[in-house]
């Protein structure tokens, strides 16, 4: 038997008419009680068995299905008196004001109504919103005082929130309202925006209330055996109770006043049943004082049905654990703990080709890796291998057509994700490598796209269940396919930290290896390539340079020239003679000049990597990154690299000069303050004198800090040369591995001005920041200038100011993440339906053309060269130069 899949074609929205409600209801609910003393549901109560089943094992009294299959059935409450649907009170108000109180026509002459009708039709045809037109009609009709159809004088109608209408001091009961709405002709209703086929105006006043099936409001049994009802059930109980009392009172002929009170109460309960957050209505509360979660609350907001359950869905076959680094994995791989590999499964259909292979998995069972957890018969029935007693018996039965849910094994494609998933590189496909221990392992080059570090970050993994999905993941989502970011058309995956400083040290001109060392490095890194001719021979020993070995990783016909990160941007570039070795020249796959640093294969910046992906493809790029990682990490591990506080040591001379500069800055500030006091400070255009002073002081102080930084750097460099010992901190900063020269400055020389809101620190006591200063003191130290370095340590006052600046930074980050998160949600929501059509136009779902060509030239940014569709210059030069040489 082939199951014909049902497909939802579309969804039509409409109001339920009283007839429809009665028709779809299986039970008329009359009693407010739910269960009798024995714990059985009462017929005609809110838990009537005909409303569906929630208890496993029982069959539904209406449809005869069991729990999972019975969708539940509606009941109804016949309201003793009609009530207004809160959600429509506003609309009812607009309508009441726009129609005649006597004849029910719209208070506009026929030709005008007709004109509106035409406009509405036009709007509908071109797919524009009809709302403004209907609003316009309401506005026009409201102003009319005398009905143009029957001549009746109109009275003023006031709307008292949430559900009361008053016509000329006379209260309109829902019955009156309903009568008026009934009088509206179908054609008039259409002009007011109604689709009369599914929504007559009078249906906005309820006479029958549908009771949702029990499946919608299941009661939960607490541990104590006590039953706890759903909020909706509680609310429905209230409604029924009041409804009954109202009915009894009406029958008994109670005074009008009492009836009206009860009616009002019924209105309240129905109102809060729909929405418990209506302005002006006290929310209905649970016994504990917690406001009830009624219909509107179930749908609304982040935790509501729409955003939480419909737009986002929970999945099986997923895992989550802490991540840790492993440079021995390929960027395409992910290390999966065996524990997780045994839990996650991949369905495999048994075929004559794989049957023996698959049987091994089954034999291993759920607890021995690599095994299987379930087998599925061709009819869809699942057998848990944990519960199978006789494996051999089962193995007999396995034949092509069965499905086996086997454990994850090496090479399986899985999706790997880290939240927040801000861009598409936050979910990428990796190949599984089952490893011991309990963390996910990943190559460090994929940290930037995930924005991951290893200070306790956790990541999610999803085992792909379908063949199409697997193919798509492999072709489109694999890490190597994502090296180029669609954001700017450059690499987003690349070396970080030790990769960079390692490569920098490795490619230094003086680095050399003996043949044995070179082989050892290459072997440890798993690079299988013949060594070139040794660069030089000394004392009969053959030596290879770091550059030579690095060249082994490069494609053989690669030609590239660029300036490295360490480039000092001299006025006249000495090119190949660069004294910092910052001019990188790669000729025919040989690194001839220059050092490798952030600009060569760092994430976001790597020129070399960029070139390899674009010219040699993603396979070459993956191989390059894998090899670089291994080679460079092996090298730096072997060589040793560490930083400590002595990396910020400065000689006495430097300290004196720094102190001098800070003195000088202090003097200059005093000078400025004096000039200000004597009123001879030159005012900046468009600024007050005070602002000018403040700006000048800031300028002086920031210059001073920069100068101290320059001195610090100068001496660090000098010391490095003198002691012939590299300064690790400085190497990291200049090669772009980690930190910046500013960080070094702050550690070694002077922390500098602390700012709050972009100004020097000014809050605190009146006229001063702290009681340690005189009122009106605006010198550098009184306003948060930190003279000390981090290494030397901050004075208590400096520490306090530094803390102020630091706190602002923290608050800023917290505020920013929420703001940018919301902005991104809005952007995604606004743009998500846009796609490129086969005619290369960009359109939304309605077919509206948003762009004739994407980005005016029809380019895919991830395939561009930093935004350029084709780097013509590069191509032309490649061919022209060949001729010239």
């Amino acid at each position: 038997m082939r199951i014909i899949p049902k497909k939802v074609e579309g969804i039509k929205f409409g109001l339920l008419s009283p007839e429809q409600i009665r028709k779809m209801s299986e039970v008329k609910i009359v009693t407010a009680d739910t269960y009798d003393e024995d714990g059985y549901p009462i017929e005609g109560g809110l838990m009537d068995p005909r409303l569906g089943v929630v208890d496993p094992g029982l069959r539904c009294k209406t449809c005869g299905s069991r729990v999972g299959d019975c969708p539940g059935h509606f009941g109804r409450i016949e309201l003793a008196r009609p009530v207004i649907h809160v959600g429509y009170a506003k609309l009812i108000n607009k309508i009441l004001r726009s129609i005649c109180r006597a004849c029910g026509r719209i208070l506009l002459p026929d030709d005008k109504i007709e004109a509106f009708r035409q406009e509405l039709r036009k709007a509908k045809r071109i797919g524009k919103s009809e709302e403004p037109i209907v609003e316009e009609l309401f506005k026009a009709a409201r102003a009319v005082k005398k009905c143009p159809h029957c001549g009746e004088e109109q009275l003023d109608i006031k709307f008292e929130k949430p559900t009361t209408f008053i016509e000329d001091k006379q209260r309109l009961s829902p019955i009156d309202v309903r009568e008026r709405l009934e009088k509206i002709t179908d054609s008039d209703a259409e002009v007011m925006g109604f689709d009369v086929e599914v929504a007559r105006p009078e249906w906005m006043v309820l006479t029958v209330l549908p009771v949702p099936p029990v499946t919608v409001r299941p009661s939960i049994t607490l541990e104590s055996g006590e039953r706890s009802e759903d909020d909706l059930t509680h609310k429905l109980v209230d409604i029924i109770r009041i409804n009954q009392r109202l009915e009894e009172n009406i029958e008994a002929g109670a005074p009008q006043l009492i009836i009206e009170d009860l009616w009002e109460l019924l209105q309240y309960h129905v109102t809060t049943y729909f929405n418990n957050e209506v302005a002006g209505v006290p929310p209905a509360r649970h016994r504990s004082g917690r406001p009830l979660k009624t219909l509107a609350q179930r749908l609304k907001g982040k935790e509501g049905r729409f955003r939480s359950n419909l737009s986002g869905k929970r999945v099986n076959y997923s895992a989550r654990t802490v991540i840790s680094p492993d440079p021995n994995l390929s960027i395409n791989e992910v290390g999966v703990p065996e524990l997780i590999a045994r839990e996650l499964t991949i369905p495999v259909i048994v075929t004559p080709m794989n049957i023996e292979h698959i049987k091994k998995f089954i034999r291993n069972g759920p607890n021995k890796y690599p095994g299987a957890n379930y087998v599925e018969r061709p009819d869809g029935a699942r057998l848990s291998l944990a519960r199978v007693k006789n494996i051999d018996e089962l193995l007999e039965k396995i034949e092509p057509g069965w499905k086996v849910h086997r454990h994850l094994i090496d090479g399986d494609i899985v999706l790997f994700n880290r939240q927040p998933s801000l861009h598409r590189m936050s979910i990428m496909a990796h190949e599984v490598r089952v490893l011991p221990y309990k963390t996910f392992r990943l190559n460090l080059c994929v940290c930037p796209p995930y924005n991951a570090d290893f200070d306790g970050d956790e990541m999610n993994l999803h085992a792909i269940q379908g063949q199409e999905a697997r193919a798509e993941a492999r072709v489109l989502m694999r890490v190597q396919e994502q090296i180029l970011s669609p954001r700017f058309g450059g690499p987003i995956i690349g070396g970080i930290h030790d990769h960079i400083s390692g490569a920098y040290l490795f490619t230094q001109p003086e680095v050399r290896f003996t043949r044995e060392q070179a082989f050892h490095l290459l072997y440890a890194s798993g690079i299988n390539k013949p060594l070139p001719e040794p660069a030089f021979v000394e004392d009969g020993k053959e030596y290879y340079t770091g550059k030579q070995i690095f060249s082994l990783l490069l494609p053989e016909d690669l030609n590239l020239t660029y300036k490295a990160k360490v480039c000092k941007k001299c006025e006249v570039c000495k090119e190949e003679e660069c004294e910092y070795d910052a001019y990188v020249v790669i000729r025919n796959g040989k690194l001839e000049h220059g050092v490798m640093d952030e600009k060569s294969f760092g994430a976001f910046a790597g020129e070399l990597l960029d070139r390899i992906v674009k010219d040699y493809g993603t396979d070459a790029a993956r191989e390059f990154l894998d090899n670089v990682t291994k080679l460079v990490i092996n090298f730096i591990t072997w060589r040793g690299f560490s930083t400590g506080i002595d990396d910020e040591d400065l000689p006495e001379e430097a300290k004196e000069r720094i102190a001098e500069i800070l003195e000088e800055a202090d003097r200059k500030v005093q000078e400025l303050i004096r000039a200000y006091n004597e009123n001879i400070l030159e005012q900046l255009p468009g600024r007050t004198l005070e602002e000018t002073l403040e700006m000048r002081i800031m300028q002086v102080l920031s210059e001073a800090r920069d100068k101290t930084g320059a001195i610090a750097n100068e001496y660090l460099e000098k010391e490095e040369k003198r002691r012939k010992h590299e300064n690790s901190a400085r190497i990291m900063a200049i090669s772009g591995a980690r930190g910046s020269l500013l960080n070094l400055t702050q550690m070694a020389a002077c922390v500098g001005q602390q700012a709050v809101r972009g100004e020097r620190i000014k809050r605190g006591y009146s006229g001063r920041t702290l009681p340690h200063f005189k009122v009106g003191d605006i010198s550098a130290s009184a306003k948060g200038f930190v003279r000390s370095s981090y290494k030397r340590g901050l004075s208590p006052l400096e520490f306090f100011f530094h803390n102020m600046g630091g706190r602002e930074g923290l608050v800023d980050t917290a505020v920013r993440t929420s703001q940018s998160g919301y902005m991104q949600r809005r952007l995604i929501n606004a743009l998500q339906d846009l796609k490129v059509e086969y005619d290369n136009t960009v359109r939304d779902t309605r077919g509206v053309i948003v762009e004739f060509r994407h980005g005016e030239d029809g380019a895919d940014p991830s395939r561009t060269d930093w935004g350029q569709m084709v780097n013509v210059k590069k191509i032309v030069q490649r061919y022209a130069r060949k001729e010239a040489a």
Partner: protein, 390 residues
């Protein structure tokens, strides 16, 4: 054996229709610079065409989502604070994330409206003339040149003490102010050095106070809304930066280069220059803000955002009041914001949801029609089965 420039141009002429104009122009420019043989030229052309074909977007690509992510992801790295405009320390301009949010919100007024006014050649090189234009633009009220004003109860009149320094700076004479004061009816003006006395016939104290206020608010010269003007020498010309924006009136001023002058008020650009200009302004403003923070985002993404905001002829916000609120699908709107209202409204108007978009398909649980999901290929089952039989 090298080809002459003419020959090169002739040989690549056929590409003119195949490549986007910018690309073609690049190619022509680069080729004119080098010497190249016929054979190599052919290789270049082939390579350019190959790369061009590769760089084209594929049908089905979810360009919208990619654009939104490309703009949203880096925005987490932006600063929050208002900073001084690059170079012009005198002006405060909203930058960073708040500015981006302001742009996509399509606010009526930016929080710090600002103009960059370029001048025509003869004004741009001459400090005197540039200053004159600047003076003409900056709005000036009587209160700006007042040292103080007092109500003289004895003589029942208002005395205005003018600030000499300010007058000199603003190049104004006492007579200029007197001339302006003449526009107030029923007032007698007496001039005495730096003091101007205004007398009313039979005034009450209230009248005098009113007069004093009215005089202080009297507009002397300049353009409304432009509260501050800074003249700066850029690389090769004088440029005027202003706080406050009034594009329409500034463009009327003589000496202003109407082709380059700009404002950061996108809605104003829409009013004055039209929707296409507004679209370009959105792109430029977002790009400038991002670049200022050192973030690189491909323009194509920003173009798409700007195009989405301006498709129907008016600038619409990204969000429930604009683009998202006007979506065709009820479910898409309900899933975004104000869920309940959208559902109630949909019921009354009897809306029909075609379930074409992303959220809708996610909600009903079927593949989304983007990328690989867009392909609608049906395999003829009989064919497949007959194959199996063989």
């Amino acid at each position: 054996m090298y080809l002459s420039e003419e020959e090169i141009v002739e040989r690549i002429a056929e590409l003119k229709d195949k490549l986007p104009s910018s690309l073609y122009n690049d190619l022509e420019r680069e080729l004119r610079r080098v010497k190249i043989t016929e054979e190599d030229l052919k290789k270049v052309v082939a390579e350019v065409l190959r790369r061009y074909e590769f760089a084209k977007v594929e049908p089905g690509e979810a360009v919208g989502i990619v654009a939104a992510q490309s703009m949203g992801e880096p925005s987490t790295q932006m600063t929050m604070r208002t900073f001084h405009y690059a170079g012009v320390a005198e002006l405060n301009v909203t930058l960073g994330l708040p500015r981006i949010i302001e742009i996509v919100d399509a606010r009526k007024k930016p929080s710090t409206p600002m103009m960059t006014i370029y001048l025509e050649e003869e004004y741009a090189q001459d400090r005197e003339k540039a200053e004159q234009v600047a003076r003409e633009i900056e709005t000036l009220y009587v209160r700006d040149v007042l040292e103080k004003s007092e109500i003289d109860l004895v003589n029942s009149r208002v005395n205005l003490y003018l600030d000499e320094y300010e007058l000199r700076r603003k190049k104004l004479g006492v007579e200029d102010i007197v001339a302006k004061l003449k526009s107030i009816k029923g007032v007698e003006i007496e001039e005495n050095g730096n003091v101007i006395s205004l007398t009313l016939s039979n005034p009450t104290i209230k009248d005098l106070r009113k007069l004093a206020n009215r005089v202080a608010d009297l507009h002397l010269r300049g353009i409304k809304d432009i509260t501050r003007v800074v003249l700066r020498k850029e690389e090769k010309e004088y440029v005027i930066y202003t706080e406050g924006s009034n594009l329409k009136d500034v463009l009327k001023i003589e000496g202003v280069d109407v082709t380059r002058t700009k404002t950061n008020d996108i809605m104003e650009i829409q009013r004055v220059l039209g929707i296409e200009a507004a679209r370009n302004a959105i792109i430029n403003e977002i790009q400038d803000t991002l670049n200022e923070q050192g973030l690189i985002v491909d323009v194509r993404h920003l173009m798409l955002v700007a195009d989405m905001m301006t498709v129907d002829g008016t600038v619409k916000a990204i969000g429930r009041h604009g683009v998202s609120g006007e979506k065709a699908s009820v479910l898409a709107r309900a899933a975004f914001e104000i869920t309940v209202d959208h559902l109630l409204q949909a019921a009354v108007t009897g809306e029909y949801d075609e379930l074409e978009g992303i959220v809708e398909n996610v909600i009903v649980g079927r593949p989304v029609k983007l990328g690989t999901g867009m392909v609608e290929l049906v395999m003829r089952r009989e064919l497949e089965e007959s194959k199996e039989a063989v």
